[in-house]
Point group: C2
Chain length 332, copies 2
């Protein structure tokens, strides 16, 4: 990183269908000057999340990312200079700093974070991924001891934590992931009871019914589409579906086809979408419980760290081809 | 009706796609003899419900109706003879007596009903339709005063009651129905604030957004498919979707295509399927409140009564072509 040049990755145009490297472009410019109320932040780690893809799609819980602007993304940075009270040079902050070396951003949009080693934990187990897994599973899915919990994208940042927390809470846990290696990792390293490889031949609904013979009580969905449909087919009466993400729909732009939606009625299923932002008032519970579990070695935080801004588009695309394990980060 | 012949309407075969008159056949046989624990019931009124169609589809909350058996259906009948304690000749009962003149059925499957005039109220406002509207709206949808409630199949037996109860609870009520006449009836007779005709040209999502400019807080769905999708598009943050039926899916056998399912996450929508059977412990609340509203003239019970077993297949098919207004019954 050069202290006078700000490299930025722009979203060239909004993708109509499948996202590709052609939708991104690197440009260079001057390091911005913070205005009153702003801080200049130097990026340290930028988080890659499936939700970033949804931001290109249109307004969600945030405004859409427009063509020819810096690609948005949450990250951890260090304050270089400050024109705002409360933040000083050297402070570590979390916020939407975007895919760039430096960002001049309103201080009120940044959250001051503790210094910790490894710093990457601030974006994984203590970050949005951890918060999402914890509140989505416990407050939306509400699993009881002995129940069967199924999570899609189970080897991903959120899914790998959902499964581990569910195991700690005494549930029977089944993960859906792509490929033999990931499935093996889930059962051998993370303690999942079973894993379903959605990439092998055959009906996902059938494979899921075999892996969860007692039926599904809680389904934590990161994928949507065929995964959601298979979970509907295998759901028990009064099953709860915590809908966290729909990677399928973000990328295809196609409507979701559900063959088993009728089961919502006969099995009295509750499907509930959620955003982690609504649970922030209860974040202290989360930090206390996750901190204790990490310290006791009961929770693993898997991270895949890429190097440099140049690597971002390809690393991001890997999220949608099932290339990632755990939390994906880029070190700037 | 002949006292020695039992006419029955059979389901000839399970329909693969669209249901037609060719799927039904009338046969005649002897009036059955009740066994110990059974009663012989003479049918008086048989109820026609969209859910009957789902029973042909496969097991739902009851076993599927098999080919070459009497078509199942709830109805009101009079006990002719009894081999069971608790029920005597002349008693009025409700239960699944099927599409036939006489049924010999276990007494424990019948519910003794009060005699009332008109007797049809036992199948409409005091029947499953009324119970479903009341508990689905109030216990699943949970509308608050001033909120916007949208109901599909609004001119139907359940929908017409949902809208009226929501109005009484101080909500802004929009109904979706097919055709100018039904829409006019909803606003002029039943007090709906607006009605959307799904049969006119144009996007249902757009029409719904225009009719519900404040967005949807509670959506009570009887239809599924495009109706459900349009409601997702127009839903407010924290909207509640009470899923009562999916006429579209029963009849098409096709997967449901949802273009706006992603909004479940961004708007944190709760989609909840329900069966009225789960609320029967609270039925006394229902009878008290609905009885008072009816007596005070605040609630209208619309009924369309067809005449005779012969009329049943055509009358039933009318349910799916949008031909009905209010509760559909057949007088036997």
């Amino acid at each position: 990183m050069n202290a006078t040049v700000n490299r930025q990755v722009l979203l060239v145009e909004k993708p109509a269908g499948k996202l590709g490297p052609e939708h991104f472009k690197m440009v260079e410019g001057a390091v911005p000057e913070p205005k009153d109320g702003e801080v200049l932040v130097r990026s340290r780690y930028i988080s890659l999340d499936a939700a970033n893809r949804a931001w290109m799609h249109g307004a969600t819980y945030r405004a859409a990312v427009e063509a020819n602007t810096v690609m948005a993304g949450g990250g951890i940075g260090e304050v270089v200079s400050s024109k705002a009270p409360g933040l000083s040079p050297g402070d570590i902050v979390f916020g939407d700093i975007g895919w760039q070396d430096y960002a001049a951003v309103p201080a009120k949009h940044m959250t001051k974070m503790p210094r910790m080693e490894p710093m990457t934990h601030l974006l994984s187990v203590y970050g949005i991924a951890g918060l999402t897994a914890y509140f989505g599973l416990l407050h939306v899915g509400k699993p009881k001891e002995g129940e069967t919990v199924v999570v899609s994208a189970a080897a991903g940042s959120v899914g790998s934590l959902v499964g581990q927390i569910a195991k700690i809470r005494g549930c029977h846990v089944v993960g859906i992931a792509g490929g033999k290696d990931k499935c093996h990792w889930l059962t051998s390293e993370l303690g999942f009871d079973a894993a379903v490889d959605y990439k092998t031949d055959g009906s996902l609904a059938k494979k899921l019914q075999e892996a969860a013979p007692q039926g599904i009580d809680v389904y934590f969905d990161n994928v949507g589409g065929e995964h959601l449909d298979a979970a509907l087919a295998a759901a028990n009466v009064h099953a709860r579906f915590a809908i966290c993400g729909m990677i399928d729909a973000y990328n295809s732009g196609q409507p979701t086809e559900l063959r088993y939606l009728l089961r919502v009625i006969s099995a009295r299923i509750r499907i509930q979408g959620f955003l982690v932002s609504e649970y922030m008032a209860q974040a202290p519970d989360f930090y206390r419980e996750m901190g204790a579990l990490l310290q006791a070695g009961k929770l693993q935080s898997e991270e895949t760290v890429f190097d440099g801004l140049d690597a971002m588009p390809e690393a991001f695309l890997g999220l949608f081809s099932g290339g990632n394990k755990g939390k994906m980060l880029v070190k700037i």
